[in-house]
Assembly symmetry: C2
Homo-oligomer: 295 residues x 2
Amino acid sequence: MEDFELALRGAADRVEGELDRILTTDIAPEQRLIDAMRYSVLGGGKRLRPFLTLQTSRLFGVSERSALRAAATIELVHCYSLVHDDLPAMDDDDLRRGKPTTHKQFDEATAILAGDALLTLAFGVLANPETHGNPAIRADLVTRLAKAAGGHGMVGGQMIDLSAPGTNLDIGSITRLQRLKTGALIEFACIAGAVLGNAPSKAREALRGYAHDLGLAFQIADDLLDVEGSAEEAGKAVGKDAGHGKATFVSILGPERARDQAALLTDQAIEHLAIFDDKADLLRSAAKFVVERRH
Amino acid sequence: MEDFELALRGAADRVEGELDRILTTDIAPEQRLIDAMRYSVLGGGKRLRPFLTLQTSRLFGVSERSALRAAATIELVHCYSLVHDDLPAMDDDDLRRGKPTTHKQFDEATAILAGDALLTLAFGVLANPETHGNPAIRADLVTRLAKAAGGHGMVGGQMIDLSAPGTNLDIGSITRLQRLKTGALIEFACIAGAVLGNAPSKAREALRGYAHDLGLAFQIADDLLDVEGSAEEAGKAVGKDAGHGKATFVSILGPERARDQAALLTDQAIEHLAIFDDKADLLRSAAKFVVERRH
């Protein structure tokens, strides 16, 4: 696990550098917006999604430059979604990654606009020739990201999460909700490397299966942390789901069966990687990491 | 002017049809989100930006299908920006296009998510092969739209507008603000046709000049309507700028000089079109329309 955590930290540093480069700081009257965008993105986070993109890219010999641009794009989208989800009208959170949320540090209007600008920037970065020499691959990535992040993906999942009266959800509905809310972007993070590397469909299918099981395991682990973790470890408020009477994997299955289920999903995720050689070892470690992490 | 208004209405109908098709209504738990997206987009608006895309596309023999897809994309972005700008934390408006604003009709969280999903959808539509057979053109459009709509474009302009203490702005600052806030997307609407039609750089320059002057004239006319129009005609609250002590073209120049300036910009905009034949007549009419309109 030490190798993995070292690799994860190394990837996070490289992604941080790329995000810093993308979020240029030329002085302008809209400086406040740029400040809020940088605040929302830089200096924190495990960068798990970009790690997945960097690692799946390695399987297919994708250039570091291309992989890093795609990885940064995904982190921009992830961070925009956190900024908007934290707003008072949504989850109303004050703490994120151990710092005040963007609307607390700035104000609500700035947080809304910073999220909008990050999402817009993500598509601009992805479509730019710097990301890949082949425009068909760039356009394909944009289409896939729009699907993963949009009304039938991440945003759709957040809508269900906000509007569903928690107690009515069964395990099937929660699975669907999480597949949309967190699973779609995790799947995109894994598939982006395959698209950049023009991978054969068998490899894509394997990564899709891996992403699916990893995403669910990740969510169950998140639900467990919300019940069992401390705010200090998590870097955000905990105990919120139960406080809101929200149905989660843990509230329905109980912590023990939820933990078993997460372990099962981890094994399944790793099995999907059987067609890859030891180049996929860090992806195997990632599957273990998401359920063992304490934050 | 009758021909023009007929053409504008015809274009609006075709754009409405395309938007209706794009915003599919397959039943899903996130139905509320789709409902809010459709509410925010369909059944209203002059559709001036998509009209500009359809007309500039005609200059270069772009297929109706491609032009309509790009036009619909721009309207999706425009509508998302209205939904977010109307939020209580932003301009706090209750009325838009004569109907309750999205957060009034639904709620704030739904309005934030509907805006996010519309913006995301716009990029997905633009990058999709249905929009144009050449992926390089699609990727180019995505890059340009991201620039026009992002932190150094529309969203940046909105940030300046919200944070600038109105009284400190001079005419140069207001011009820059409006170039970002409304000008960038209007320019994209005009250039999209040239990109789709692979137009020579001289034609692109002409359209950029046209869009620049048209955009400013449009904004001055909007400021005049805010002072002189009725809420009934405008379909939204009026008198808000003065109420907020906001510096506008009208507050600085006075109504008479502002009107002269708008007329001058209209003439300039039309002059830029000199290199085009009578195929550009409706674009010439559009320049007159934006300053003569009562809503």
